[in-house]
Amino acid sequence: MPVERRGHRGPTPVVLLAAIVTAAVLLPPAYLVLRAAGEGSAIVQALSARSTLAALGRTVLLTTTVTTTCVVVAVPLGWLTTRTNLPGARAWTAVLALPLAVPSFVGGFVMVSALGPGGMLQDLLEPLGVERVPSIYGFWGAWLVLSALSYPYLYLQVCAALRREDPALHEAARSLGRSAHQTFFEVTLPQLRPAISAGGVLVALYVLSEFGAVSMLRYDTLTPLVYIQYTTQFDRGAAAVMGLPLLVLAALIIGGDAFTRGPARYYARAQRAPQQRVPLGRWRWPAVAACVLVLSVGVIVPVTVILYWLARGLQEGARTGLPFEVVTNTAQAAGLAAVAAGLASLPLAWVAVRHRGWGGAMMERAAYAGQALPAITIALALVFFVARYASPLYQTLGVLVFAYAVRFLPEALGATRTALLQVNPNGEEAARSLGVGALRTFARVTAPQMAPSVSAGMLLVFLTVMKELPITLLLSPIGFDTFATTIWSATSEAFFAQAALPALVLMLCSGLAVLVMLRREEVTLA
């Protein structure tokens, strides 16, 4: 229910904290601008080159189509798995989040091995008389693969928002004679706006920064152009210049998001009642089929290919194994990063939601900018600043966690913001008027209400940190192997059987993390 914006001056330390977090998150864009500035007049020439403009066009096309597709897929899927009597709903949620566990450097290769010419799909279809499969290269392949790998950014946010939605509104609509269908479009969907908006921004920024899949699928967006500058000439300046349009596109996306999500508030006024699940009736099994269809590209294909690697490697006597240390290292780093990003997102979300004026909103939006940059640029930016200005801390666990938090803060931020929007400030005001301090009020009144949504954001950070590569390679303590480094080290040299086990365990851990979060949330809500 949209409510008027409330004037609410928060304590200044919050603003200060928000400013510090914003400054940290702006390190990668600052680095990019710094490096690009060194190029001088070459900037205009490089950016106006026909190849750059063509790549820009492809980037815009791919970003808009993939984001739209993800919204169309994730919203109904979120509704099916949280609001209906879909068989095994919780397990579906865990499995549907799994594409997030596929590292970008594996995703493209796996897709081509499975769906490309002479790949597994073709082998399967050949006995049926199918000689050729449609080409996976170019726009359609990139669209399919990126949509299949990135919809969970939206899906997890939508699920979290749906679980938090006040059922009273829903019941009121139904009792006023609206059909289930009308209720969804007139009540539920508008309530989902902040979540869709936050998730959509993450998908769009992900597409901008994606390298592994688009380069395998031969759809050259801007990010591969940045990589070419790095890999062929080690030219950090020229690479930064190619990254500038990404920042501009990010600004447009973030601005568009501000427009979509509007100034509304979304909180329940009354005591919450438990949500009722909609019976699907004869649509139950078609709904299951829809879930399977969505999973087919993003989960079934990678898992099949990886299992095939494992089986084939074992058959040929390849060694395989997974040091337990890899699991604990990854869990530790990802857990700490999730907590750090979750905590850091609080002051930013607070100033954006609870403060009058544009300052807070600007800070919160600026925090997203870095997310559009290629992963290697972000890693180099952090190397640059930490090695030069905080060198005793360089390549320690603390700095690795800091780097992850900077990289993935936007993933937590959207969820935290959505959570805060769903908290009715009346409760806080009541506590304050009874003489309870600001911090205590936050801890006792606000935080418990925000917990489910914030933990969805932290989960997202946790899942993506587990597969993060360039930052881990450059900034981790020496010898600190994670899932991502282990998988990369094997696949980059064609030891596929060796990569299989860590890749499968990574997916298993991701699924478990989702299940644990759902379980906690059910306990909290009950």
Binding site: S51, G119, R236, Q332, I376, T485, S489, S492, E493, A494
Partner: protein, 335 residues
């Protein structure tokens, strides 16, 4: 999340910081290794065992590590940088980040396989080859020169990896040996046949084996990893240009010592160790590369080094590399 959990996590972080910053004991040699951990870790550990010098190794992509060293600036913890790709050594050299190696190390390696300024040295060698699909291609019918692959019969059948891993170095060799105009025409003709481009050697090799393309112009040693994992039934093999053709241009992996290294003596010992006979034999046996020193036998599956012609050019020269990339861009081979 509950408060005790958060406090616990923060404590763990603090502990991590504390233990990381108070090492103590003998200072280890820090190696940035842009080569496969699986392949070279045993060798590096053997070095530590044999010499008693403790080592810390950061494994990663050679290009990322070189870029990392450049951004680390004076505070780089790296003593030695090891890579697959001499272009990366060239990048460090261009920013004056390498220090000269002693002549007793340099002299072990033929002039063509080390930096003319004595700033890095080759550790192992790889040849450019044409990988072909064993179902569709009879190797006897393959052209003996890479220059003949601009014939229209190869339209859409050839794969290349233009972005890294040897192709730009090949173009440099082509320009230096045959001249700028010739190279330009060859690349233009090649582009007209719409070669399939791949982001790396492994993807291209896989495409040859799947029959997506018939041949691909790659480095020789990736094939052996596939054969190990997939057995002899794997449908791709190497065609070596062992007749002195420029297609067989020889590339090296190499190593150099960083200008900021505080452990110069240990670093030199490390590089010297990698050039000793048993290390060179390790490269030949385990990574199926060519040894750099005389008296070490290469793998029996490979044609002997003497049969491959190597143009004497400095493939780490970034100026030359820039020219090649520019030409590749002009001719549309690179976007």
């Amino acid at each position: 999340m509950r408060r005790p959990t958060i406090i616990l996590l923060l404590l763990t972080a603090a502990l991590g910081l504390a233990t990381a910053s108070c090492g103590g004991g003998e200072e280890p040699l820090t190696i940035y290794a842009g080569r496969s951990q699986t392949l070279i870790q045993p060798l590096l550990e053997q070095f530590s065992k044999d010499t008693g010098i403790p080592i810390k190794v950061r494994y990663g992509d050679g290009i990322d590590l070189a870029l990392g060293i450049l951004e680390e600036g004076r505070n780089s913890p790296a003593d030695v940088y090891l890579t697959q790709d001499v272009g990366a050594l060239g990048a460090l050299q261009a920013e004056n980040r390498l220090q000269p190696l002693p002549s007793k190390i340099l002299e072990q390696v033929p002039v063509a396989f080390r930096s003319p300024d004595g700033l890095w040295v080759g550790l192992s060698g790889r040849a450019r080859v044409m990988v072909y699909n064993t179902d569709t291609i009879d190797p006897k019918t393959l052209p003996p020169s890479v220059l003949d692959y601009t014939n229209t019969q190869w339209r859409g059948r050839l794969g290349i990896v233009p972005r890294s891993d040897g192709f730009p170095e090949f173009v440099t060799a082509l320009r230096l040996v045959k001249g700028e105009e010739f190279a330009k025409k060859w690349l233009t003709d090649l582009k007209a046949l719409s070669p399939r481009t791949f982001p790396n050697n492994i993807a291209a090799l896989q495409a040859v084996a799947n029959g997506e393309i018939d041949v691909a112009f790659l480095n020789h040693y990736y094939l052996y990893r596939f054969l190990d994992e997939r057995g002899e039934g794997f449908k791709a093999r190497n065609y070596f240009f062992d007749n002195g053709d420029i297609g067989g241009v020889f590339l090296v992996s190499g190593a150099g010592i960083l200008d900021t290294s505080k452990h110069r003596e240990a670093a030199e010992r490390f590089i010297a160790y990698l050039l000793e006979k048993q290390s060179q034999q390790y490269f030949a046996d385990q990574t199926k590369e060519y040894p750099m020193i005389a008296g070490v036998k290469g793998d029996s599956k490979l044609p002997p080094l003497e049969s491959l012609k190597t143009p004497a050019i400095d493939l780490s020269n970034l100026q030359d590399l820039k020219g090649s990339l520019e030409l590749m861009r002009q001719t549309g081979i690179l976007p």
